[in-house]
Structures are given as structure tokens and as C-alpha cells.
């Protein structure tokens, strides 16, 4: 009976806390840059405001702009159901890592179509660059999943988290794979070195350009979906690579400590990302393939080290 509560609690946790973590990230970046910046709950206020506002839809947009954003949010939310946050066990028969990655792929697919749909130059440019970058990111994902498969002999994210949580010492391959996945995370979620999420400067934005034309409720859906996607990637990173302390038994105490540990680790990651975002400048588009091939090389090296060493 408790298991069903956990089934519901895990996705709920991510759904509710995703905007909070974005707020925390904004706050951390602000204090690095020396100004107090908006409050941690600012993202909640934005989404609430957008939900209430009227909408303007461009006359050349099709069903992709009207229904699309809803589907992106649906994809993001349904992904949260099959990812371990604080509890994992071998009993989960679903949760294949490919399904997670490809469902998150729906968001990318639909946002790039929305970009093209509004018949504006910026939308086309944004979706072309987004797809270009994510195309180069695919092999890294493949290699990271292979590494995890070598380590834990399964594709199911729950069993991966379970196997890694019992393991205490991690070899060098593990660290390299985590680093590769981290770079993949930055590329997929349009974080700083690949694309600047805050700016609306026409020639630099990638992710923002696609949803330039949206407003009101639809913009809120997309914002929420990308926030959830970002946090989901982070959870995969945390629970896939350093799931120390994740609850494997059903008693309340371990789950409580697991939640707290998860939040601490997440904030740690956010701090690292904030450091990267404030120190690094955005790469030129044709330097991004070099970064991603570097990550791919890391992945390959991790497999070789793990397998043959």
C-alpha cells in the first residue's frame, strides 16, 4: 500500500519542486554576480501570471502551436512517473532509460516544430540550431547508456540506481561517464556554454528563439516542461551515477533521509551549473560540436577503462 504512495509522491515531488530549483539556480547566479536578484519562488509567480494572461497567436500558426505546448508538458510529466527520486527497488518492471530519453525527445521535437510554425526567421534559426546540437548529443547518450549497461547489466533506471547505490567505490570510468552525461545535460537543456537561456538577443538564443512567439498559458506550459526536463536530467545524473543514500527499503526514516540527501545533491549540482554559467561565455555555434565530441570521447574512454581494465 505504501508503494502506491511512493508511486505518486516521486513525480509529485519533482513537479512541485522543479520551479523552485530553477528559482534557486537564479538566486545562486544572482549572488555570484553580486546583486540580490529575484526571490526563489519567482518562477512560480511567473507561471501563475502567465496562466491568467490573455494570449496572442500568430495568424500563420497551425495545430502544432495550439496543441503542441500541452503535449510537451504531458511528456515531461509522464516522464516523472518512471524516474526514481528517493526510492528504488528491483520490483519496478518499467523505467527503461531509452523510454525516458526519447520521451524527453518529444519536447525537443515539438518545440522545434513550434519554432518553424510561427513563420518567423528567429523560430527557424532556433529550431535548426536546437536540432543540430541535439543531433550531435545523441551519440553521447548512446555511449553513457552503454557504460551504465556494462556496470549494472540492465537498462532499467531503477535497477541502475539500486545497483549503484550498493556500490561504494566508483572507478575512474564512472567519473568520466558522469562528466560526459553532465555535458550532455548542458547541451540538451540549453544551459550556458551551449546556449544562453536568459537572453533574448536574436542571434545568440537557441531555445528561447523557438518559443518566442508563444504567450500566456502556452508559454507557461513550455516553461514548466523545460524546467521539469532540466530537473529530470539532474535526477538521472544524481540517481544514475552517485545514488548514495537512496532508499531501498520502504520504511519512512530511510525515505526521509533519502529526500533530504537528494535535495542537497541537487543543490550542489545547481551551484556547479551556476558557477559554469557565470564564468563561461556562450560558445560559437560551430565550437559546440567540438565540446560534444569531447564528451563523446570521454564516454568511449570510460567504457574502455571499465571494460578492459
Amino acid at each position: 500500500m505504501l508503494i502506491y504512495i511512493v508511486y505518486i509522491l516521486q513525480p509529485l515531488l519533482i513537479l512541485l519542486l522543479a520551479p523552485l530549483f530553477m528559482g534557486i539556480l537564479g538566486k545562486v547566479k544572482a549572488c555570484f554576480r553580486g546583486y540580490t536578484g529575484p526571490s526563489v519562488f519567482q518562477v512560480y509567480y511567473d507561471i501563475a501570471k502567465l496562466m491568467k494572461k490573455d494570449e496572442v497567436i500568430s495568424k500563420s500558426s497551425s495545430f502544432v502551436t495550439t496543441i503542441g505546448p500541452l503535449f510537451t508538458l504531458v511528456a515531461a510529466v509522464s516522464c516523472t512517473f518512471i524516474i526514481p527520486v528517493f526510492y528504488t527497488s528491483l520490483a519496478f518492471s518499467f523505467g527503461n532509460i531509452f523510454v525516458i530519453i526519447f520521451t524527453l525527445g518529444i519536447i525537443k521535437f515539438i518545440t522545434s516544430l513550434i519554432g518553424l510554425d510561427s513563420a518567423s526567421t528567429f523560430g527557424g534559426m532556433g529550431s535548426s540550431r536546437e536540432l543540430f546540437i541535439s543531433m550531435l548529443a545523441e551519440p553521447i547518450m548512446f555511449v553513457v547508456i552503454t557504460f551504465l549497461f556494462i556496470e549494472t547489466k540492465s537498462f532499467n533506471i531503477f535497477t541502475i540506481a539500486y545497483a549503484n547505490s550498493t556500490q561504494l567505490s566508483f572507478g575512474p570510468g564512472h567519473v568520466l561517464a558522469a562528466l560526459a552525461f553532465f555535458i550532455l545535460l548542458l547541451a540538451e537543456n540549453a544551459r550556458m556554454p551551449v546556449d544562453n537561456p536568459e537572453t533574448h538577443l536574436e542571434l545568440t538564443m537557441v531555445h528561447e528563439a523557438m518559443i518566442l512567439d508563444l504567450s500566456g498559458k502556452r508559454l507557461a506550459y513550455i516553461e514548466l516542461a523545460s524546467a521539469i526536463k532540466f530537473v529530470l536530467f539532474l535526477t538521472i545524473l544524481i540517481n544514475g551515477f552517485l545514488p548514495y543514500g537512496i532508499a531501498t527499503g520502504l520504511n519512512l526514516l530511510t525515505m526521509g533521509t533519502a529526500i533530504i540527501l537528494f535535495i542537497i545533491k541537487l543543490i550542489g549540482c545547481l551551484i556547479v551549473i551556476a558557477v559554469i554559467e557565470t564564468t563561461m561565455a556562450k560558445f560559437r555555434l560551430f565550437r559546440v560540436p567540438e565540446l560534444l565530441t569531447f564528451a563523446f570521447a570521454l564516454g568511449i574512454v570510460s567504457i574502455i577503462i571499465n571494460h578492459y581494465a
Binding site: 496562466m51 491568467k52 494572461k53 490573455d54 494570449e55 496572442v56 497567436i57 500568430s58 495568424k59 500563420s60 500558426s61 497551425s62 495545430f63 500541452l70 504531458v74 510529466v77 509522464s78 512517473f81 518512471i82 518492471s93 518499467f94 523505467g95 531509452f98 523510454v99 526519447f102 520521451t103 525527445g105 518529444i106 521535437f109 522545434s112 516544430l113 518553424l116 510561427s118 513563420a119 518567423s120 526567421t121 527557424g124 529550431s127 535548426s128 536540432l131 543540430f132 543531433m135 550531435l136 545523441e138 551519440p139 548512446f142 555511449v143 552503454t146 549497461f149 540492465s154 537498462f155 533574448h200 536574436e202 512567439d213 500566456g216 555555434l285 560551430f286 560540436p289 568511449i300 571494460h307
Partner: protein, 597 residues
């Protein structure tokens, strides 16, 4: 009578599967072509295309059902002949004729190579019957197996469009009428896959792993090079033809993987890899013919295949746009649809190799897997381009504005195909079990008890769970949306151009511009050339050539021409020279006969 009919036909699981595939995909395409063919009424004969299409489909079924190598070859040649007459159907423009001729020549090459292969098989096994050859399969010596395998790759590869012999694909499909190119790329390429599976798996029995690796490398090269070529295309059907070559590359690399597993004795993994390959063959047949029929309906209504002239077709072709959306989502492996099910199965069978094979080849296989992942990313890039540029945004030319209505039967055909795509995606778990039985029969392992966790690792169950979650969450969100929509209105206004409000249709992203970053990276592979012309306004032209054709086909053609010129010199008009030939050959023949015999 049935009994005699029985031993003519080849009724094992493989043939039945492929016949089912052929029939499954031909029905919607025939429905589609009822409407589509009306466009040709005024200058081509309708009876011709209908009769040729029926012969084409019957010959394909004949190929799959034949169990004697002569009957196989007869149907094989009839198939290429009827498809040739369909490719040159619109003989009014010259370009169709030359591509039709090239197509027929390439398929004839594949026919001849297969003829040599079957003759060799007859030499070794002294029988034409497939069943006897199958029993003989483990008595082939190694050299015999190598020769037959190489000939099989060349023969069936030429027909399927593997790398060095793929040059006809991007030429034949755009010149054929759309329903025919849908039929050809959806079904004919699979018949070549059937032929290859029949020879490589069932005739040759167990084969050293180096065959599998060479096949996998050829398949991966085909995939990556053809998808890069596809990205730079303006012509919609050429883009789809290249992406068919890419999917064929995918299927053949998985077959190579199955051969590797079999040679290492990992039968369960071999069965699963082969199942992934067969499932992807079915799925590719479905979504590729869906995309071709969509392109056909675009061609029917606007009259042009060039993407840069289209755009904004959504407004007048709502149903066709929706079907094209489903097709694009399926080809770029979006979860609930069928493309996702088989692509993930392929990636999983690639990853399964880790830890099981510990030679250096594991790294090569994983590299091939990552290249295929790159291609699947590129497929999403290319299909979003082809869907977005043609259907969304503003119409870029007058052709795209005043388009005439698409007849009902075309929509029914496309609708049926998109229903297939959704069904095959959601119910992929049950289709998986069915295909696993077939691949067990192919690898003739007997029905080994598939250990639970490898099967469980396969994605069957997850998709069903995922589909149900998605449906339930959408229902919840629609309800929430419906409740909270009372006091909000939405206004329709021009697109937001960051303050610039005279946005013209031509200012949108064009097709070639959309994939310009990718072609800039792959300049050497696809021969990408940029030219900037300064007439009264500045023009930007970019042009890509098929490098394989430029550096492999043209030298051969010029060599043959050079030889032909030299040899026709023999007929130098003088009669004395002719008589000298006779006397010389007499003397040489007498001397040789006296000396050697």
C-alpha cells in the same frame, strides 16, 4: 492440385512474414493511388499504371513465395522490369528517362550477380530447391561460404541500396509517380532484405563473425552517408529516398549484428537483434510510404516537389498535414509510435554486445552503434525540416498558395497508414513476440526458452505502460484546460518579429538554410559547394553532389566508353583489313591448337 501448389510455394515463417508486410502496405497505397492517378489523366494512360502496379505487387509476392532459385530469379527480374516501366511513367521530361535507365541498369547488375550466386549454389549443392539447399547449409566449405556471402551482399545490396550501389535510389524515386515510389521504397527494398536474410541466414547456416562485422560496417556507412546527403536535398522525394537508404543501412547493420551474435553462439541475442531488424523493416515500410504518399498529395495539389517553394500548406490540407505529422513523428522515433519501438530495439541489441564479446570488435560495434545514434538524431533533424518547411509557416510561392483539393481516396490511404503507425507503435509488445517466433525459425535455434531478463530488457512492456501514462495525463490536462478557459480570450495577430513587422514569406528559414550547419560540417562527404552571385541582387546558391557517384560511377562509365571507342575501331571500313583479320585468326588458331591440344 493444392499439394502441387504447396511445394511450389515456400511456406515457412520468413516468407509469410514478408508477404504479410507486402499486402499490409500495398492496400493503403493502392487506395491512395486511385485518387492520385487522376492527375495523369490528360497526358498519360491510366490503364498502363494500374496494370503495371498489379504486376509489380504480384511479382514481389512471387519473389517472396518462390522456393526454387530459377523461379526466384524470374520473379526478381519481372519485379525490376515492371518497376522500371513505372519509373519512366512520366516520360515527358528527359530527366525521368535517364534516371529510369540508370535504375534498370543497376537492378540488372543485381540480377546478374544473383544469377551467378544461384549458379554457384547449384554447383555446390546440385539442386535448385531452397529446402534442399537449406538442409545442405552446414556442408558448405568456408571459401564457398565467403563467395556466396559476398555475392549476396552485392546482389541484394544493389537492389536494397547499400552504399556503393545506392546511386539509383535518389534518382529513381523522385522520377517515379509518388504512389509507385511509396510502393518501391516501402516494399521493394524489403524484398531485397528478405532475399538477403534467406541466403545469409538460412542457406549459409553459421558463418564466421568477420562477415557480420563487414556487413555492419557497410550498413553503418550507408546510414551515415545517405542521411548526410538527405539533409542537403531541396527535392522532397529525393530527401525521402535518401532516408530510405539510411533505414536500409540501419536494417543491414542490425542483421550484421545478428550474424556476429550467432557466430559467438549468443543465440538469444541473435534472435532479438534479428527481431529488431525485421520489426524495423515493417515500421520503415509503414512510415516511409506514409511520408511518400504525403509528398504525393503535396505534389498533387501544388505541382512542385521543391521544398523552398512550399510552406503553409496546413491551411488548405489539414488532414494531409496531420498524417504527415504522424509520419514525421514516427520516423524520428517519437515514443508512442512505431519508429520508436524498432529504433530502441535496435539500439538495445547494439548495447547488449557490451560485456558479452570481449574482443576488440566490441569497441567497433559500440562505435557503429553510436554512429547509428547520430543518424537517428540526424533523421529527426531532416524530417522536422521536411515537415516544417513544407507544411508550417507561410506559403513561400504562388504555387503553395492556390492549391487544388486533394481527392478523398488519397486521404483515406494516408489515414490508414497513420493508423498503422500508431497501432504498430502501441501494440509493439505483441508484434514483438510474433516476430521473435519468426527469427527463431530463421536462426533455426528451435524454440529456445528466452530467458526472462533479456526479453524483459526489451522495451515491449515499457511502451504499453508509457502509452497509458501519457493518455491518462493528457486527459487530466485537457480537463484542467477545459475548466480554466472561461474568462480568457485569445487574439490572432501577426507573428512577433522583435519589433520588425514587415515579415515577408521569403524571409522564413528555407529548407537548405535549415540544414546548412550540418552540410557545412559534412562538406567533404556530400560535396557541398556555396556560390554567391552578384546580379542586380545578390544570390546565394548552394549545391551538393553525390560523392560516390562522382568518384566511383563516372570513372567506370568513362572507362567503358574509352574501351568501346577502341573496340569499334575494329570495324575500320577497309575490306582488306577484314580479310587480314580472318587469315590472322586462322593462323593463330591453328598454331594454338597444334601446340596446346
Amino acid at each position: 492440385m493444392l499439394e502441387s501448389f504447396y511445394n511450389i510455394m515456400m511456406t515457412d515463417w520468413l516468407s509469410i512474414f514478408f508477404v504479410a508486410l507486402i499486402i499490409l502496405i500495398s492496400i493503403p497505397i493502392c487506395l491512395f493511388s486511385i485518387g492520385y492517378v487522376k492527375e495523369y489523366r490528360q497526358n498519360y494512360s491510366i490503364k498502363y499504371i494500374y496494370s503495371m502496379m498489379t504486376f509489380f505487387i504480384l511479382s514481389m509476392i512471387g519473389v517472396v513465395f518462390s522456393n526454387n532459385s530459377i523461379v526466384f530469379m524470374i520473379f526478381w527480374e519481372i519485379m525490376s522490369m515492371t518497376s522500371f516501366f513505372l519509373v519512366i511513367y512520366e516520360y515527358k521530361n528527359k530527366e525521368n528517362l535517364s534516371s529510369g535507365i540508370m535504375y534498370f541498369v543497376m537492378t540488372h547488375i543485381s540480377g546478374l550477380v544473383l544469377m551467378i550466386m544461384f549458379a554457384l549454389i547449384y554447383k555446390y549443392t546440385n539442386s535448385f530447391d531452397f529446402k534442399e539447399i537449406m538442409e545442405y547449409s552446414n556442408k558448405f566449405t568456408l571459401t564457398q561460404k565467403t563467395i556466396i556471402f559476398i555475392l549476396a551482399i552485392i546482389g541484394f545490396g544493389a537492389k536494397a541500396g547499400l552504399m556503393p550501389l545506392h546511386a539509383w535510389l535518389p534518382k529513381a524515386h523522385p522520377s517515379a509517380p509518388s504512389n509507385v515510389s511509396a510502393l518501391m521504397s516501402g516494399v521493394m527494398l524489403k524484398v531485397a532484405v528478405y532475399g538477403f536474410i534467406r541466403t545469409a541466414f538460412m542457406f549459409l547456416g553459421d558463418v564466421p563473425y568477420s562477415y557480420g562485422i563487414s556487413l555492419m560496417i557497410i550498413g553503418t556507412l550507408t546510414a551515415i552517408i545517405s542521411i548526410l546527403n538527405a539533409s542537403a536535398q531541396r527535392n522532397m522525394k529525393k530527401l525521402l529516398a535518401y532516408s530510405s537508404a539510411e533505414n536500409i543501412g540501419l536494417i543491414f547493420s542490425v542483421l550484421g549484428l545478428a550474424i556476429i551474435f550467432k557466430s559467438y553462439g549468443l543465440n538469444t541475442l541473435a534472435v532479438l537483434a534479428l527481431t529488431a531488424g525485421l520489426f524495423h523493416a515493417v515500421n520503415h515500410g509503414i512510415f516511409k510510404s506514409l511520408l511518400f504518399t504525403a509528398a504525393g498529395s503535396v505534389l498533387y495539389s501544388t505541382g512542385t516537389k521543391n521544398m523552398n517553394e512550399l510552406g503553409g500548406l496546413y491551411k488548405k490540407m489539414k488532414f494531409a498535414t496531420f498524417c504527415a505529422f504522424v509520419g514525421t513523428a514516427a520516423i524520428s522515433a517519437i515514443p508512442p509510435l512505431n519508429g520508436f519501438a524498432s529504433e530502441v530495439a535496435i539500439f538495445m541489441s547494439f548495447i547488449q554486445v557490451a560485456g558479452k564479446i570481449d574482443s576488440i570488435w566490441m569497441i567497433v560495434i559500440i562505435l557503429c552503434g553510436s554512429i547509428l545514434a547520430l543518424t537517428s538524431g540526424a533523421v529527426m533533424y531532416v524530417s522536422v525540416k521536411s515537415f516544417g518547411i513544407t507544411y508550417l509557416g507561410e506559403p513561400r510561392s504562388i504555387k503553395a498558395q492556390n492549391i487544388h483539393k486533394v481527392p478523398i481516396s488519397m486521404n483515406i490511404g494516408m489515414g490508414l497508414l497513420s493508423v498503422y503507425a500508431i497501432l504498430f507503435g502501441v501494440l509493439s509488445k505483441f508484434i514483438f513476440e510474433y516476430i521473435i517466433k519468426i527469427s527463431q525459425d530463421i536462426i533455426n535455434v528451435g524454440n529456445i526458452r528466452l530467458d526472462e531478463n533479456t526479453l524483459q530488457n526489451f522495451v515491449g512492456f515499457d511502451i504499453v505502460v508509457m502509452a497509458s501514462i501519457i493518455i491518462s495525463v493528457t486527459v487530466v490536462f485537457l480537463l484542467v484546460n477545459y475548466i480554466t478557459r472561461k474568462n480568457k480570450t485569445f487574439k490572432v495577430y501577426d507573428t512577433w518579429g522583435c519589433g520588425f513587422n514587415e515579415a515577408k514569406p521569403y524571409m522564413q528559414y528555407s529548407g537548405s538554410g535549415f540544414t546548412q550547419p550540418l552540410s557545412k560540417i559534412a562538406t567533404s562527404i556530400i560535396g557541398y559547394k556555396k556560390t554567391v552571385l552578384k546580379e542586380e541582387t545578390i544570390f546565394f546558391r548552394q549545391h551538393t553532389t553525390d560523392m560516390i557517384e562522382k568518384y566511383l560511377y563516372n570513372p567506370i562509365i568513362s572507362l567503358v566508353d574509352y574501351l568501346a571507342i577502341k573496340i569499334t575501331k575494329i570495324h575500320y571500313g577497309q575490306i582488306q583489313v577484314y580479310i587480314a583479320y580472318i587469315i590472322m585468326s586462322l593462323i593463330i588458331a591453328v598454331v594454338c591448337v597444334v601446340k596446346f591440344i
